[in-house]
């Protein structure tokens, strides 16, 4: 029976070993050399660097022995390990603690043993460097050999620490790179599901996990909905809805981060093994994603193997959860903004309908019916520009989209051929363009190409990239109509056109025999401005 102190020291030793990131790693020259020196110096056939895990002893370096580990019960190194002192057993067959040990009783079994403790800077003893002989040693190990073995033990311990630092700094670089990638991914994401799915993939690959998922928690319905997931073949999918209880969570109880190295080992808190979904993985980390004090989602990382999660990995996951939280908040704000914009747009369009109705009633019964029709069409051109702007939350509108929407609102979209690259227009330029296109359309219908059934219009535009800043050139060109001529009177429509895209002119109208041509120029920078 182990007493509690021994159990506690075993637990601390396991943690320290896991933290060294060394268990089950391939052999390394620096440790092999120490074992070789120990064997040669003490003139024995066997030397080992032994690390004492919970259920086994594992050899980081072995000289004269083939096996890489044995069950912990067969370990001689573990004897008196809590004392942290040198262990010297001159005849293993004479010591009651070892004489039944199969390693001793077997044919050509071990007969004498001497081991120096491997003590970390923290004071925790994680194992021993030992020398073993197949014949008994009458007086034990010579004092000088003992001193030498202790010196080698100090070397091995130091090597363990240095090795850990190097591994950790490598791991940290990996984690930091992943965090930058995740930040970028979240910023670019359009919605929560997309954000969760790409984040899960990066986390899974970085931590070499078996399954990473993002579940939206709904306390009211006692469910967690796994929206997105990244898995290897080792563990199945958890996508879809689960009860909170299946995830080991309880309704109404704040969700805290959970880090479990082995779900099969009773936890120190509950003293019971895990149940439910947690049991489908061997090792897990769960990180709550909170919003306004409430847990809204859970980021979980599962591994099919028992594994120790370093403090750096846990803090990495905490940062990932923080970033996801910011992402969720942003998506929600954008969604609300979208709803708000939709509502404002709805009201604006109802308002335009009322303006239209008032104008109609005001001019009713007068001789102004032509004027009302012009007014109505201009109002609709504005409304069309508004529709184009709404698609990008009123920040910008695509030139083609504006022109097309106006043309189809007025009813001529099948008689205009458009060609040009995508050009983003700010709200002012979008409104100006919509009114200009409308005036040109109306004019073409009354006097120009669209007044004859064969006539059509080409609307082309190019964006130049001059050193002084790019310039947009839009060309409206009528074909197949009657010859055009300059009107004697310049009305409102003509003034609207001549004001240009940014209100500063830049408009050249030519009345050619083949039809009217209008060329509109404006600096791109001015067009994009609100």
């Amino acid at each position: 029976m182990m007493n509690l102190d021994a159990a506690e020291s075993a637990r601390r030793r396991q943690e320290a070993l896991a933290d060294l990131l060394i268990m089950d790693t391939p052999s390394e020259q620096s440790f092999d050399d120490l074992a070789f020196i120990a064997a040669e110096a003490c003139d024995v056939p066997i030397a080992l660097i032994t690390l004492l895990d919970a259920d086994r002893q594992w050899f980081k370096a072995r000289y004269g022995v083939k096996t890489s580990e044995t069950p912990i019960e067969q370990s001689v190194c573990r004897l008196e390990i809590e004392r942290g002192t040198f262990l010297d057993i001159a005849d293993l067959t004479a010591d009651e603690r070892t004489r039944e040990n199969p390693l001793v009783t077997k044919k050509r079994g071990f007969r004498s043993y001497a081991g120096a403790p491997l003590i970390l800077r923290s004071g925790i003893v994680v194992g021993r460097i030992c020398v073993i002989d197949l014949k008994p040693r009458k007086d034990g190990l010579a004092e000088s050999d003992k001193a030498m073995l202790e010196a080698l033990a100090r070397q091995a311990s130091e090597q363990l620490e240095l090795r850990r630092s190097a591994k950790l700094s490598h791991q940290l670089t990996g984690l930091q790179t992943a965090l930058v990638d995740i930040g970028e991914t979240i910023r670019r994401s359009q919605n929560t599901k997309e954000m969760a799915s790409s984040t899960a993939a990066i986390v899974g690959q970085t931590l070499h996990a078996s399954r990473v998922g993002f579940g939206v928690v709904d306390e009211a319905s006692d469910t967690i909905d796994v929206l997105a997931e990244w898995t290897t073949a080792e563990l199945g999918s958890l996508e879809g809805k689960h009860r909170l209880g299946d995830f080991g969570l309880e309704q109404g109880i704040a969700i805290e981060p959970v880090v479990i190295a082995d779900t099969g080992t009773p936890s120190p808190d509950t003293r019971a093994p895990e149940t439910g979904i947690r049991m489908t993985a061997v090792s897990i980390v769960e990180m709550p994603v909170r919003d306004a004090g409430q847990t809204i989602a859970l980021l979980f990382v599962h591994s099919a193997q028992r594994r120790y999660w370093t403090a750096e990995e846990v803090s990495f996951l905490r940062s990932v959860a923080d970033r996801l939280e910011a992402g969720v908040a942003r998506h929600r704000a954008e969604q609300q903004q979208g709803i708000l914009n939709g509502e404002i747009s709805h009201r604006l369009k109802n308002m335009l309908s009322m303006v239209q109705a008032i104008a109609s009633q005001t001019l009713r019964g007068t001789t102004q019916q032509d004027a009302f029709q012009s007014f109505e069409q201009r109002l609709l051109a504005l409304s069309a520009a508004h529709d184009s702007l709404l698609e990008s939350q009123w920040v910008e509108a695509d030139l083609r989209n504006v022109a097309q929407t106006v043309a189809s609102t007025i009813g001529f979209d099948n008689r205009i051929v458009m060609d040009g690259p995508p050009v983003a227009l700010g709200p002012r330029a979008a409104f100006a363009l919509s009114l200009i296109i409308h005036e040109l359309l109306t004019n073409a219908f009354k006097y120009g190409a669209l007044s004859s059934s064969e006539g059509f219009v080409t609307l082309t535009w190019t964006a130049s990239n001059a050193a002084s800043g790019g310039e947009l050139t839009v060309i409206w060109c009528e074909h197949g109509g009657p010859p055009s001529s300059e009107p004697s009177r310049k009305g409102f429509g003509s003034r609207l056109i001549r004001a240009g895209l940014v209100g500063a002119g830049g408009v050249d109208i030519r009345y050619e025999p083949s039809g009217l041509t209008a060329e509109l120029k404006a600096p791109l920078a001015r067009l994009a401005a609100g």
Binding site: G342, S345, H346, R347, L348, K349, N350, L352, S353, M354, V355, Q356, A357, I358, S360, Q361, R364, Q373, E376, Q377, L379, L380, S383, D387, L390, T409, I410, G411
Partner: protein, 120 residues
Amino acid sequence: MMDRKVILVVEDEPLVLMFATDMLEEAGFEVLSAIDAEAALTHLEVRDDIRVMFTDVDMPGDINGIQLAANVRSRWPAINIVITSGKPLAGGWMLPADVPFFSKPYLHHRILTVIEKMAA
């Protein structure tokens, strides 16, 4: 007066209702106006000569214009329907292919053209 074709206009905004009513009356139609779906159904149940229903989508009451249209389509399949709204048609609302949708504000002569064709 005898042969005027009957159009039902459903619109909760009085100014816009007035505008639509005048537009249709000037074009020679008899117009029944309703400020919500309930009032529209009352007309529909009493009159059997309605040719076209021209309805807004967002209205006070439990039934919106889309639901009203679905109702009319199943109970009075002979009545043609035209829908208008200040909102873009939300995803999930499917209109039958023969029900045209006009975004508000609309060009009145385009609506007239469609309704005249339907009522003919």
